[in-house]
């Protein structure tokens, strides 16, 4: 089987200096160059251009670029790392109140049970309707849920802000 005629071009020389030829192609080209030394000057020109391409200087980023990136990174971290403690404490206090208040009422009612210590104590009864219709408890409930809603809104907004900054 006959080989196809070898046609040397600048593109082939570029592929050669770029290391993109297969072993067989490379050997064939090197053999051709040995037989046709007039192409050596062309090869040298390609090699020179390649080294010039490699030595093109990098662009200098604007002054203070690195510190700007770090500043932006820190500001992105801030809303997720820092938590407004007073909100969490407030919510904790409200929920604590909800747990403690019925307990206090239960204990208070228990003290007024007339049965002796030897008899089986009856279940203390609590008027839950009256308890929750009490204005202090109602406002407390509203206050607690408002705080919780604000806290959730703040978390969602800060997350959205972070994601929005990230999405380009």
């Amino acid at each position: 089987m006959e080989h196809q005629p070898f046609i040397l071009s600048d593109d082939l020389l570029w592929d050669y200096v770029d290391g993109l030829l297969t072993d067989a192609e490379r050997k064939r080209l090197e053999a051709y160059l040995t037989e046709h030394p007039e192409w050596m000057a062309r090869l040298q020109a390609v090699e020179t251009d390649r080294s010039l391409l490699q030595s093109v200087p990098l662009e200098a980023p604007p002054q203070g670029f690195a510190s700007g990136v770090m500043g932006a990174w820190n500001s992105l971290l801030t809303p997720t790392v820092e938590s407004p403690d007073w909100i969490i404490r407030g919510i904790g206090a409200v929920f604590g109140l909800f747990i403690l208040l019925p307990l206090v009422i239960l204990i208070f009612n228990g003290l007024h049970i007339k049965n002796s210590v030897f008899s089986v104590p009856g279940m203390p009864s609590v008027d839950w309707l009256a308890l929750f219709s009490h204005p202090v408890l109602q406002y407390g409930l509203y206050f607690g849920f408002t705080l919780l809603a604000l806290r959730l809104l703040s978390a969602v907004l800060s997350q959205y802000r972070v994601m929005h900054k990230m999405m380009v």
Binding site: T48, D49, L53, Q54, V56, P57, L58, E59, F65
Partner: protein, 190 residues
């Protein structure tokens, strides 16, 4: 003597919350990231924005970096993605060879190397200017392959191309670069 830490060591430290490690990664890669961004968006102000967003995104997803590829390859892939999104957002058409609507000013960094002959300096400057005039994806592939010395398989990862497509893209980019250089030479001769 201060020993330079590897990327992997800096990434580990950064993930442990050491801000200094993040800062060192920025210092190390800022020129590369910015240059790639300039090559793609063809505008220094927008490139600074793209470069910053790329770093921020890289930091946000740093825990996802598995070390299967080089950190630089992973980072350039982010730059590629951020810059493409930026170009889409601004509805920038791919610049034609003769489009000089968004020229990139030649920075001081292109000052000639004293060791080179005048001819080589002029040739390097011509190549530099020709790269600026290439369409974004051509300029990107030329920068990644020749300037950053990425292998073709790494370019495939960065630009999300097949090996054949990457090879073709490199070939075409080189052809366009050659055309620009020849056109410029003819113009300057006239």
């Amino acid at each position: 003597m201060v020993q330079m830490q590897s990327d992997e060591a800096l990434i580990t430290q950064a993930l442990l919350g050491q801000q200094q490690a993040y800062a060192q990664l920025v210092e190390r890669y800022q020129h590369y990231v910015f240059t790639l961004a300039v090559r793609m968006v063809k505008n220094r102000e927008e490139a600074a924005e793209v470069a910053q967003d790329s770093f921020l995104r890289a930091f946000q997803y740093l825990a996802d970096f598995r070390g299967e590829a080089k950190f630089s390859t992973w980072l350039y892939r982010i730059v590629h993605s951020v810059a493409l999104n930026h170009l889409r957002k601004r509805r920038l058409d791919v610049l034609s060879i003769d489009d000089a609507a968004h020229p990139v000013p030649v920075p001081a960094a292109t000052q000639p190397d004293a060791s080179d002959s005048m001819e080589l300096q002029e040739r390097r400057h011509a190549i530099y200017q020709a790269i600026q005039r290439l369409p974004p994806d051509d300029a990107e592939v030329i920068t990644l392959f020749y300037l950053y010395e990425n292998r073709l398989d790494e370019i495939c990862q960065i630009m999300e191309l097949t090996m054949t497509n990457a090879k073709t893209k490199l070939f075409r980019a080189r052809q366009r670069l050659k055309t620009i250089l020849e056109t410029t030479a003819v113009r300057s001769a006239l």
